[in-house]
């Protein structure tokens, strides 16, 4: 555990970058520091690996003041990833990754084997091992940056806006990769970002900082969304935090109906039998059960020419969140969301009203979290 204990940082020019910040960063989880630009996130992170010396307070790593250890040994036990990766341009990918192992005295072949192993772990083709950084895309460079930080298997990983310089699609890939790696390795990750969506996606715990380096709220992301501590946090979370909060509720309890689903080769009788009063449409699937689109049931049963209406997108039942289900219903021209199983076969549909009821139910079981405000304010 990393304990940041009443830490203050005042720069020589008088800027108070961090103001009596206290945080307990749990082991083997991702803790995100988030807040507007200039609120002291980078400064806080850099105090953990002693790139910046606090003006007051102390930082403990597993109960010991970090100043007790030789500074370079401390840094080698903490992977460090920065925004533009900071790869060494004169070294190949594999040499970059092997930096800390070589520093720790590993022999060349062991460092190299480790490097190749890490390239695979971060989703890099090992054919890139001999490339130089300028020959890589921004996303690939960031992956090398992460691999380099992980090379000596440090228990702690410090990441300063590592994904903010790449485009949104690449960023999503990198975020997913990080979550996958974290599930395998269980590092103590401190992750800095100014992007609240990234914070909510990645964080087990999220610390929201405000200008002047003061802590606004420290909570798991779901709690942040359901019970922001004050107006600042609420503003920072943005207008659609209610919708985003739905990402934390599963669809496993959602009531589906499989009635209005027919195969594309269904007979007139079958279509008629599957028509329900709540909607004039039935969902048509291919012969394997995958959804194709909605069609007007009565017209189809009467043998009139009908066309398939798009169903928007389906959600995977039990795996996707209520947010995905709601989105699916909102996007569907019929107002009904299509649920599929892991193989993509339609297993049922749900009306907007049903999803709304499930949302009310989910909120009811979570209960009021307003007590949190009192504790952290």
């Amino acid at each position: 555990m990393i304990v940041i204990d009443a830490v203050t940082k005042r720069y020589p020019d008088g800027t108070t970058a961090v103001d009596r910040l206290t945080l307990e960063i749990p082991d083997r989880s991702i803790t995100v520091l988030v807040g507007p630009s200039g609120c002291g996130k980078t400064t806080t992170l850099r105090m953990i690996n002693r790139m910046v010396d606090p003006s007051g307070g102390r930082i403990l790593l597993d109960g010991h003041d970090i100043r007790e250890r030789p500074v370079n040994a401390l840094r080698r036990s903490m992977g460090y990833v920065i925004q533009h990766a900071g790869l060494f341009p004169h070294r190949t990918v594999i040499e970059n990754i092997a930096t800390v192992p070589r520093l720790l005295g590993w022999d060349r072949s062991r460092a190299r084997a480790r490097g190749l192993e890490l390239m695979e772990r971060v989703g890099l083709d090992t054919a890139l091992a001999k490339r130089y950084p300028y020959q890589l895309s921004g996303g690939q460079q960031q992956r090398v940056g992460v691999a380099r930080a992980l090379a000596a298997d440090p228990p702690v990983l410090l990441m300063d806006e590592p994904f903010s310089a790449v485009d949104p699609i690449v960023r999503k890939g990198l975020q997913d990769e990080l979550l996958r790696i974290q599930a395998d390795l269980g590092k103590t990750v401190v992750f800095v970002t100014h992007d609240i969506d990234e914070a909510i996606k990645l964080g087990d715990m999220v610390a929201v900082l405000r200008e002047g380096g003061r802590l606004a709220q420290y909570a798991p992301p779901a709690e942040l969304l359901s019970a922001p501590a004050d107006e600042f946090v609420e503003d920072f979370l943005g207008a659609d935090r209610g919708i985003r909060h739905l990402s934390f509720f599963g669809t496993e309890g959602l009531e589906l109906t499989a009635e209005p689903i027919v195969a594309e080769d269904a007979t007139t009788e079958q279509v008629r039998a599957h028509t329900i009063p709540q909607t004039p449409y039935v969902l048509v699937t291919d012969t394997e059960g995958r959804p194709r689109g909605w069609t007007h049931a009565a017209d189809r049963a009467a043998g009139l020419p009908t066309e398939l209406l798009p169903y928007g997108h389906a959600f995977t039942y039990g795996q996707d969140s209520l947010r995905a289900a709601l989105d699916s219903a909102v996007l569907s021209p019929t107002g009904w969301a299509v649920a599929v199983d892991a193989e993509g076969r339609a297993i049922g549909v749900a009306a907007q009203e049903t999803i709304a009821a499930a949302i009310r139910g989910a909120h009811a079981t979570v209960g009021p979290r307003d007590s949190v405000r009192g504790v952290l304010a």
Binding site: Y80, I82, F88, P89, H90, A149
Partner: protein, 221 residues
């Protein structure tokens, strides 16, 4: 007679390619003086440039010193030192070294300062000690610029090493000095051509050195 005529006359002269006043011997002397002067200049300028660049301190003092050194007249210095110290290699070396130190020093300082701070930050953050940050990150990344500073110094030394001949040392300057005093223009032209050719060869040498020493990742090809 035109330039080509003089040149032809010079290079065709009997005994020109052998003996104590032959081209190989004079060329060797010239290269030796230049190499020694360049090495001394590097030994002085590189460590100072690397350290001031790494710490970022003393940059102003450095550029003042360098500007002052640039204003030193090499020939005047040679004459003065020879009067003071008598004939010898030192009065020859001092102006040559003084000529090469400023470009090497200033370029090295600036090359290290120009290294992306994010690289240095990443290196320190990974726990590299300072000397490794300098030797393994800043130096290799700044190397192309540093080499260009050494190259300017080398070219200036090669061109100026002709002055050694004025105080009765060898080198290609011998042809120019002797040619002038003997009113042998072919010799003057020949000597000048050889000095120019050696300067070009120096350029080529540094081009090759750049290929060998600078990482393809920094050269970007």
């Amino acid at each position: 007679m035109n330039l080509f005529g003089y040149a032809q006359q010079f290079f065709d002269a009997p005994g020109r390619w052998s003996g104590a006043d032959g081209i190989p011997q004079r060329l060797l002397e010239h290269v030796q003086y230049s190499a020694v002067a360049l090495l001394i200049a590097m030994v002085i300028a590189l460590p100072v440039g690397l350290l001031t660049g790494h710490t970022g301190r003393g940059g102003n003092a450095l550029s003042v010193l360098a500007t002052a050194a640039r204003a030193l007249p090499s020939f005047g210095l040679l004459v003065l030192l020879t009067i003071l110290m008598g004939l010898g290699m030192t009065p020859v070396m001092v102006p040559l070294v003084a000529l090469a130190v400023p470009p090497i020093l200033v370029t090295t300082y600036e090359a290290i300062r120009a290294v992306d701070p994010a690289l240095v930050d990443a290196a320190r953050g990974m726990g590299l000690p300072r000397w490794r940050v300098l030797a393994q990150v800043e130096l290799p990344v700044a190397l192309p610029l540093i080499l260009s500073g050494i190259r300017s110094g080398a070219i200036q030394i090669v061109s100026t090493a002709t002055i050694a001949a004025y105080v009765s040392f060898g080198g290609l300057g011998r042809y120019i000095v002797d040619g002038l005093s003997q009113v042998d223009y072919a010799k003057v032209v020949g000597g000048a051509i050889l000095v120019a050719a050696l300067a070009l060869a120096t350029l080529g040498f540094f081009w090759a050195l750049n290929k060998v020493l600078v990482s393809p990742g920094v050269r970007r090809r």
